[in-house]
């Protein structure tokens, strides 16, 4: 026997090793195989099902997860045979015989034996009842605990005309399985004897048992790790909805079905093939571009549904294995479309390789911020239903026409699904939340998708930024059709319009003040004399600025007109301003002089020339205007506005702009010399320009009053009645304090400056009285956008409307392109209302006054307002807030102005400002600073009904007044700390219920005893959605009441939630019994009370 040589030894070792490896792999595969498990009463359910089961609890009976199929069957239908075929399917597949229960918040499944008796319910009906019947079939809730998870039914229209409805709960069957169901139905119907289906050895319960073990292995950890990095820093998609997300959403939805144009479908298929990418990747890339334009976000995270059939054993099963994955599109750096498609294709392949981690598990791992009624992580799906998954419903000898049942529910905010149709076309199936979106919006979504796909395929090497998303008609509509046609402009100067009126009717009353009259002649002559002084003594020339520091009264219009006639521009100064602010403006504007009176003169810095109107300075000056040459582009007035930089800027408004405003105003409101117009606005604001000059250039009468009288609602009411005022332009808050009943002469309310609700309009609008919502920054001259409220009552805040005459409104994205209808963008204004710029600030002027790329004539500018607006479907602009007041709260975009507006609608609140504390940290929270008389809890409740939960401020600080900067803006630095001294310790638990709830939270969330306080928020403490159901279950054990899990989202603070439990317990007993108990307790002495309390504790 010879010793094996070394070579042989190596071979043997290798062979041995190979055998061992094979063995191990086989053993491992054997261990990992799905095997039958014993059927017991309470079996585990799959993670996909667990998550869906939880969501099913959250929607409390809404048929959100019911999957319907309905079809018209024309021809000789063998009903017993159809019924038998359905029975056969139910008998073969356990999923259709599964019920779901729960123990301590953990769901389990029970499989029932095949049904002993079987009947397909047949109902007689008519053509008109079809839709109603199929809708009713899908809308009925499934009792998953006690009843089968399916519902079959036949509507008999005639002997050879039927409608078949098949509905099941998604928890037992997914899209892939529906195809199997349809095929098995066909085969069994075709040949009840011949069709033999092998008995299944594995069923979904076996998969569920296998999955539990698999989740304990190493593989899921690897996949979860992948998802952690894949969603790292992910920005939730914040598509601005048509309506505010309700605080308690119902899941109401609609289905919209259509087809892409065949030509486009063909090109999509060709391109996908040529590029070697999936149809899903190519279409999703187009959709990413679209959402990038809609939201301005560069990180577009969408959900997509994959089949979950990653193991061959699952394939014959009918069950719910599909899984949602997240696919992120990265549009940073403006990629080339073709590259975006390939990147998306790679992302999808990666997601497919890691699709075994159930989505619910992922959500638990990632703990994203929760919103009631909004799916965690991704609320917006883009998915493709591949051709092999499209169920083909066929019954031999019968013509099948598919019908569309409307469950009227939706699972996500939007699911945009491309159907890979067998005929080569591409279908579009969209399920959307009808609480959030209008139908027109969804139709436009398809239109924009079609446009962007068409453009992208025609030039795949273009950068995504260059692609068109709007069809030409919409482009023209928003830029041209919804802006006024250029109209007539008056080429005169502002004061020339006045002098013409003075010449026509010199004795007409120009102004009423404190019961006295000022005639047009008096005003004309006084302003002439002043102009001479300014020209002669103070060397005023066109472009020079003259300060006007006067209290309300006849002098004010005289001074303003006098400066104009001298060729200068007036700068109104508020006598209430702090001296530093006055000094700053006078210096900044380099005034030639200040027109004032002796009692105010001490406010004027010593080095500034002054002209005192209450002296003899005007005596002996000519009562005719001085000869000066002024052009329409010369500045008529300068008004300071506070800028974001903190230093006020002087806006230079030329004659052209203010003349256009006044003539437009007169036409809009048909102003006549008989009109009496209130002068309410502070003369330092540009609404006063309207009050004074819209009136004087129309020959009408200004009605003025001292400040104190205007600010007292009773006196103001008296003034309006006594003077029979016909038009007012006052802030909505002031109008709200007045009584419309006694103001018969008031024919125009021109209200603006801040947003207001429908109530105000409905209270004031009436036949013979127009109610307008006006909008305008000083840079576009008083008001440039207007909405005339319709005579019928409004049910929401009015829009701000459209551009006024000779002006144009553009809603543009950050790249200065028009945005589609319904998409927020920054309002840009162009046309006759534009100011010249900011006095002495060329840089800031150039930054805000941009070239107008859409102008009908070359070289025009447009002003970037900084206001966020959108077009509604009627072509009216809706005001949404300031572009720069959006903040991020745990990744969610929040418009602080929206919250402030909601707070200000609460009774007793006068003013407020909302700020973010700890911004950029996971514990970021909102603090509201409120001026007024209000109950904090009542205000919080009010807000919970108006705003999504994450927008309801956590803390409320009552202030006497808001701290202001010298420029009149809220001084954020001086807002007090709402939680002085850290304030992080838990608030005391004051009731027994609170203490017991705290114990439940602590044990559920693994927190230290004593760490949970009455003001702690379940979700901030780390509670996730699945723990919500567990918590509800424990609360049921402890308090014998069953709360709707959604309550926790509305009342996440421990004290609030405990109060809900108390309410529920009282409700359980009924009022009478509670009253009896209360009477008993009330009758007890203090000693007895003490004794009883001690006993019970």
């Amino acid at each position: 026997m010879s010793a094996p040589n070394e070579r042989d030894v190596a071979d043997i070792r290798r062979a041995l090793l190979e055998r061992k490896v094979r063995q191990r792999v086989a053993e491992k595969a054997e261990r990992e195989k799905i095997v039958p498990v014993p059927r017991t009463g309470k079996m585990a359910i799959a993670e996909q099902q667990r998550f869906l089961w939880f969501l099913h609890q959250m929607v409390a009976g809404a048929p959100v997860y019911n999957v319907p199929f309905a079809m018209r069957l024309r021809g000789p239908l063998d009903v017993p045979r159809l019924s038998e075929a359905l029975r056969g399917i139910v008998a073969r597949h356990e999923s259709l015989r599964t019920r779901f229960g729960d123990e301590h918040g953990v769901p389990f499944q029970t499989v029932d034996p095949p049904p002993e008796t079987w009947e397909l319910p047949v109902t007689d009906g008519t053509e008109q009842q079809i839709q109603e019947w199929i809708d009713a079939q899908v809308r009925e809730e499934f009792d998953l605990r006690n009843r089968p998870p399916y519902r079959f039914g036949l509507l008999r229209l005639g002997p050879q005309d039927h409608v078949l409805s098949i509905v099941w709960h998604h928890i037992v069957i997914d899209g892939w399985s529906s195809r199997q169901f349809a095929e098995e139905l066909t085969a069994r119907y075709e040949d009840p004897q011949g069709a033999r289906f092998p008995e299944l050895t594995l069923q979904p319960a076996d998969f569920a048992a296998w999955q539990r073990l698999w989740l304990l292995s190493e593989e899921p950890a690897k996949q979860i790790e992948y998802w952690h990095s894949a969603v790292d820093g992910m920005e939730p998609l914040e598509w601005r909805t048509d309506r505010q997300r309700p605080s308690a959403p119902t899941g109401a939805g609609r289905i919209h079905e259509t087809r892409l144009p065949d030509d486009l479908a063909r090109r999509i298929r060709e391109t996908a093939k040529a590029e070697g990418v999936s149809l899903l990747a190519l279409t999703m890339a187009g959709y990413q571009v679209l959402l990038n334009r809609y939201t301005g976000q560069e990180d577009i995270a969408l959900g997509s549904v994959l089949s979950g059939r990653t193991r061959s054993e699952i394939e014959p099963m009918m069950g719910f294995f599909a899984n949602t994955v997240v696919v992120r599109g990265d549009l940073r750096g403006n990629p080339v479309f073709r590259d975006l498609v390939h990147a998306t294709n790679d992302h999808i392949l990666e997601a497919m390789a890691h699709q075994d981690v159930p989505f619910g598990r992922l959500v638990e791992e990632l703990k994203p911020e929760r919103l009631p009624g909004r799916n965690p992580l991704v609320a917006h799906l883009f998915t493709l239903l591949p051709e092999p998954m499209i169920a083909r419903w066929r019954l031999p000898g019968v013509e099948v026409e598919m019908l569309t049942p409307q469950p009227e529910t939706t699972r996500f905010d939007i699911t945009f699904q491309i159907n890979d149709l067998p005929d080569g076309g591409l279908g579009v199936w969209i399920e959307y939340s009808s609480e959030l979106f209008d139908h027109e919006r969804i139709e436009r979504l398809v239109e924009h998708f079609t446009t962007v796909m068409t453009d992208a395929l025609s030039r795949p090497d273009a950068r995504v930024d260059a692609l068109d998303i709007m069809p030409d008609e919409e482009y023209l509509r928003v830029l041209t059709a919804w802006n006024p046609e250029p109209g007539e402009v008056d080429g005169r100067l502002l004061h020339e319009l006045f002098t013409a009126r003075a010449a026509e009717a010199p004795d007409a009353v120009a102004m009423r003040f404190a019961g006295e009259n000022l005639t047009y002649r008096q005003l004309d002559e006084r302003s002439d004399r002043l102009a001479h002084v300014l020209v002669d003594e103070f060397k005023v020339t066109p472009g020079r600025v003259v300060g006007v520091l006067l209290d309300r009264g006849f002098d004010l219009p005289a001074a303003e007109l006098g400066v104009l006639k001298a060729g200068g521009a007036w700068l109104p100064l508020d006598p209430q301003y702090p001296p530093e602010r006055l000094a700053y403006q006078l210096g900044d504007a380099d005034v030639a002089a200040v027109v004032t009176t002796s009692d105010l003169a001490d406010r004027v810095p010593a080095d500034v020339a002054r002209l005192l109107l209450d002296t003899d300075v005007l005596d002996g000056r000519p009562a005719s205007p001085p000869k000066v040459h002024v052009a329409q582009e010369d500045t008529a007035y300068v008004i300071y506005t506070s800028g974001s930089t903190g230093t006020p800027k002087g806006v230079m408004v030329p004659h052209r702009a203010v003349v256009n405003f006044c003539t437009t105003f007169q036409r809009m409101f048909s102003v006549t010399p008989d009109d009496r117009i209130l002068q309410f606005s502070n003369p330092a604001f540009d609404v006063s320009v309207s009050d004074v000059f819209s009136t004087l250039t129309a020959g009408a009468t200004i009605v003025g009053a001292p400040r104190s009288e205007l600010l007292d609602p009773e006196q103001l009411q008296g003034l309006l009645e006594r003077e029979r005022v016909t038009m007012v332009d006052i802030p909505p808050a002031v109008l709200g304090l007045l009584d419309p009943a006694a103001l018969d002469d008031l024919r125009v309310c021109f209200i603006g400056m801040e947003p207001f609700g429908a109530d105000l309009v409905n209270r004031w609008s009436k036949p013979g009285r127009e109610f307008h919502n006006g909008y305008g920054p000083t840079e576009v001259t008083v008001t440039c956008v207007d909405y005339l409220c319709p005579p019928e009552p409004l049910d929401g805040p009015p829009p701000i409307g459209r551009a006024m005459a000779n002006q144009r409104a553009y809603v543009l994205d950050r790249a200065l392109r028009p945005v589609p209808v319904g998409v927020p963008g920054e309002l840009h204004m162009a046309g006759a209302g534009l100011a010249i710029g900011y006095l002495g600030r060329p840089g800031q002027t150039a930054e805000k006054f941009l070239p107008d790329p859409f102008a009908p004539t070359p070289g025009e500018r447009m002003y970037a307002t900084g206001d966020l607006v959108r077009w509604n479907a009627d072509g009216n602009l809706e005001f949404l807030g300031r572009v720069d007041r959006q903040v991020k709260l745990r990744g969610l975009r929040v418009e602080l102005g929206e919250i402030e507006h909601a707070i200000e609608t609460f009774d007793g609140v006068r003013q407020c400002v909302v700020t973010v504390r700890d911004q950029g940290t996971p514990s970021a929270w909102l603090a509201a600073y409120v001026v007024g008389d209000f109950e904090q809890d009542a205000l919080r409740e009010h807000l919970s009904g108006l705003l999504p939960l994450h927008m309801v401020p956590a803390d409320y600080v009552r202030l006497e007044q808001l701290p202001l900067t010298a420029t009149g803006k809220v001084d954020h630095a001086r807002l007090p700390d709402p939680r002085p001294g850290g304030g992080t310790g838990p608030a005391e638990l004051s009731t027994d219920t609170e203490r017991r709830v705290a114990e439940i939270w602590q044990s559920l969330l693994s927190l230290e005893p004593g760490s949970v306080g009455a003001q702690d928020n379940f979700f901030v403490l780390g509670g996730n959605s699945l723990q919500v159901t567990q918590m509800i279950s424990r609360v049921r054990d402890a308090f014998q009441v069953t709360l709707d899990p959604r309550r926790l989202f509305s009342y996440p603070l421990l004290s609030q939630f405990a109060a809900q439990i108390d309410d529920a317990q009282r409700a359980l007993l009924g009022e009478d019994e509670v009253a009896k108990l209360e009477a008993q307790v009330a009758g007890l002495s203090e000693e007895e009370l003490d004794r009883l309390l001690k006993e019970s504790s």
């Binding site: 150039a846 790329p853 004539t857």
Partner: protein
Amino acid sequence: MEAQYVVVINHEEQYSIWPAGRDLPNGWRAAGVESGKSECLEHIARVWTDLRPISVRR
């Protein structure tokens, strides 16, 4: 990379800025400066000394 702009000027010798690489709006010409936004605005602050349209400068 910081977004690039060009300094532009119109027939009234009003200055403004426009995203670099995009077609200039009708009636505007480049004034020879291309840079980041703040550099462009600083340039304008130096050269645009009279904000009034040229037609009314005297």
